[in-house]
């Protein structure tokens, strides 16, 4: 036999009626939300004497927001705000400093790498530059920059990259859809 559903019991059980709500919010329970998740304004029938009906949710929010029992918004005193501002400013300067350091490191590293590449470009298979070769009396410049060219080869760079990234990722689908025929 199937066990009876507990849903009904749960719905009407007194324990679910939470008494922990502040008394100012208890009106909300009676006034359940009846919105049909649409963003357009709901046209309600006009009363002849009064203006358009107010949204009950807005009324509720107003009631609680401006209720005398609602505590005033928290604000810093003047000195406190100034101290806060000082600390905030110092923290921002600190972050600035950090950012500058990182940038400088990156720049240094980039420069070092480009210098290394340049040195490699000027060197032949024996590690000699053109000047050094003329010094020892050799004039074979065929090998010069070979190591550099090999280092700069781009073959196999995309090997491990999934096929989806073969096309640049865009916000909208392409006009022709997915090309299933395509192979590498």
């Amino acid at each position: 036999m199937k066990a009876p559903s507990m849903a009904l019991l749960r719905a009407f059980a007194p324990i679910t009626h939470s008494q922990t709500l502040p008394w100012t919010a208890r009106g909300c329970l009676a006034q359940q939300q009846k919105s049909n998740f649409s963003t357009t304004e709901q046209r309600q029938a006009r009363d002849k004497n009064r203006g358009p009906k107010k949204d009950p949710r807005i009324t509720q929010i107003r009631y609680h927001l401006y209720h005398p029992l609602t505590p005033r918004p928290l604000r810093f005193s003047r000195n406190r705000a100034l101290r806060h501002w000082t600390i905030h400013r110092a923290w921002q300067r600190y972050l600035d400093e950090q950012r500058k350091q990182t940038e400088r490191t990156l720049e240094r590293q980039y420069n070092a790498m480009s210098a290394a590449c340049e040195a490699l470009r000027l060197v032949d298979a024996h590690g000699l530059t053109a000047d050094e070769r003329t010094k020892i009396g050799e004039s074979n410049t065929k090998e010069e920059g070979r190591l550099y060219r090999i280092a700069m080869l781009k073959t196999g760079v995309w090997d491990k990259v999934p096929i989806e990234y073969g096309r640049i990722q865009t916000e909208t689908p392409p006009r022709k859809g997915w090309n299933h025929e395509w192979t590498r």
């Binding site: 000195n79 100034l82 101290r83 000082t86 600390i87 110092a90 923290w91 300067r93």
Partner: protein, 437 residues
């Protein structure tokens, strides 16, 4: 003693400051008896009344009676001040705050060092002798950009100081210093300038009077109000574009022209009304209500009383703003024109050049600049080589005082009423009895 201070709030309510005078026998951890302390306290004379610390209504009345001073701040605040140790803001013992201050001070010394280095660099470059004109141009450009960077550094050195921020917010900033000028400029541009530009554009002051304007000085307009019972006159501030009662604008206003750049300069002020009706042409003309030249204004001396200028400065004295019955509102646009500088500064220097004074005699004799009707401000600006740097606006309409204002100023036409020309409806739109057909 420190212990006692920490224990005091327990024994005393903040609101009831009378307890201050009743020496409570607080048990402090001392070997001597508490009674001795109370005795010494009783011997001390009462402290003099201070407008910052009087906290009871009785003492407030006494202060007003004896020293003719009004207490400062709320009673709650004064009561709190009575018991506070009154530590200066920068010495407040909060660890994070003090650490932050230390860090900012380090940053400031760094900036000062940078300023010194930049100054030296500028000097070195300025001393360099260059012959080639293209090289000279390059050098001047470089000097100018270096100077700009130096000015930026000056502001960056001071902008993180909480005391400077506080002073500026209290309105005690010294406008001779670049940092306060920078802050004032920022504040003006954040709201007031936007509002001014909105009014100027919505009411089509540009391009009706001048083609365009990019204000760089703040203008605040105020008229002297009617005298009160105690013979004090209260200045009436006028929002940009406000409609002003004609009796209020009968006397010349006071302008506050706040430049945000260093140095004293000469300005020309013109008040132009572009809404003068021209019935014959079925159009509108302009009229100049005021024109004065060579008015010195500096960041620290911004006030200009248009009614109290010298005879040598005024070309056209103040004519009260008026409208006529049946007319729409009249826009009274106030233009601040900066006079051209004398000569040229060497590139990279930070001095402010004095302005070239205009020849008022010649302007008075010149028919174009000395007639109010059909005054052409575009022509005037081009002729005198001035640049519009500020603008303000108020409006005037026909009200119950305008007839009297016009009579007192000797302007004819106070009894004229303008009416729209009645356009006869087309025959088929007429009422039945008026139709001919």
């Amino acid at each position: 003693m420190a212990l006692e201070r920490s224990a005091r709030p327990l024994a005393q309510s903040l609101r009831c400051t009378r307890h201050e005078r009743i020496a409570l026998p607080i048990r402090s951890f001392t070997s001597s008896t508490a009674r001795q302390e109370t005795e010494t306290q009783q011997q001390s004379t009462k402290p003099p009344l201070d407008p910052f610390t009087v906290a009871t209504p009785r003492l407030e009345r006494k202060l007003l009676r004896e020293q003719k001073k009004i207490p400062i701040g709320s009673r709650r605040r004064r009561a709190a001040m009575l018991t506070s140790p009154n530590i200066p803001f920068v010495e407040l013992p909060y660890q994070c705050f003090q650490e932050a201050r230390k860090y900012l001070q380090e940053d400031r010394t760094q900036k000062l060092e940078e300023i010194r280095v930049q100054r030296e660099r500028i000097e070195r470059l300025a001393d360099k002798v260059v012959v080639d004109p293209s090289e000279q141009q390059k050098k001047n450009h470089r000097l100018r950009s270096m100077r700009q960077y130096l000015e930026e550094l000056k502001i960056l050195a001071d902008i993180n100081d909480p005391m400077i921020k506080k002073k500026f917010e209290d309105g005690q900033g010294d406008m001779n210093k670049p940092i306060y000028r920078h802050l004032a400029d920022k504040k003006w541009r954040s709201h007031k300038r936007l509002l001014l530009m909105q009014r100027i554009e919505q009411m089509h002051v540009t391009p009706d009077v001048l083609a365009k304007v990019d204000p760089i000085v703040e203008t605040t307009l105020s008229f002297t109000g009617p005298s009160r019972a105690d013979r004090h006159r209260v200045a009436r501030m006028v929002q940009h574009g406000d409609i002003v009662d004609s009796r209020v604008s009968e006397k010349a206003p006071t302008l506050r022209i706040q430049p945000f750049q260093k140095g004293e300069k000469l300005y020309t002020i013109a008040v132009i009304n572009p809404d003068v009706p021209n019935v014959a042409a079925d159009a509108f003309d302009t009229r100049c209500h005021f024109l004065a030249c060579n008015i010195p204004v500096s960041p620290t001396k911004p006030y200009v009383q248009l009614g109290r200028l010298n005879k040598e400065q005024i070309v056209l004295p103040w004519l009260p703003a008026f409208s006529q019955k049946g007319l729409p509102y009249q826009r009274m646009s106030i233009w601040i024109l900066e006079q051209p500088p004398q000569g040229e500064l060497p590139a990279g220097s930070n001095d402010a050049l004095p302005s070239k004074p205009l020849d008022v005699k010649a302007l008075q004799e010149n028919e174009k600049s000395s007639t109010r009707e059909n005054f052409n401000l575009r022509g005037f600006v081009g002729h005198t080589k001035t640049t519009p740097v500020g603008v303000d606006l108020f409006r005037t309409v026909w009200d119950e005082g305008t007839a009297g204002v016009m009579r007192r100023a000797g302007i004819i036409g106070g009894d004229v009423e303008f009416k729209n020309k009645r356009i006869e409806p087309l025959p088929y739109k007429r009422l039945k009895e008026n139709r001919y057909r």
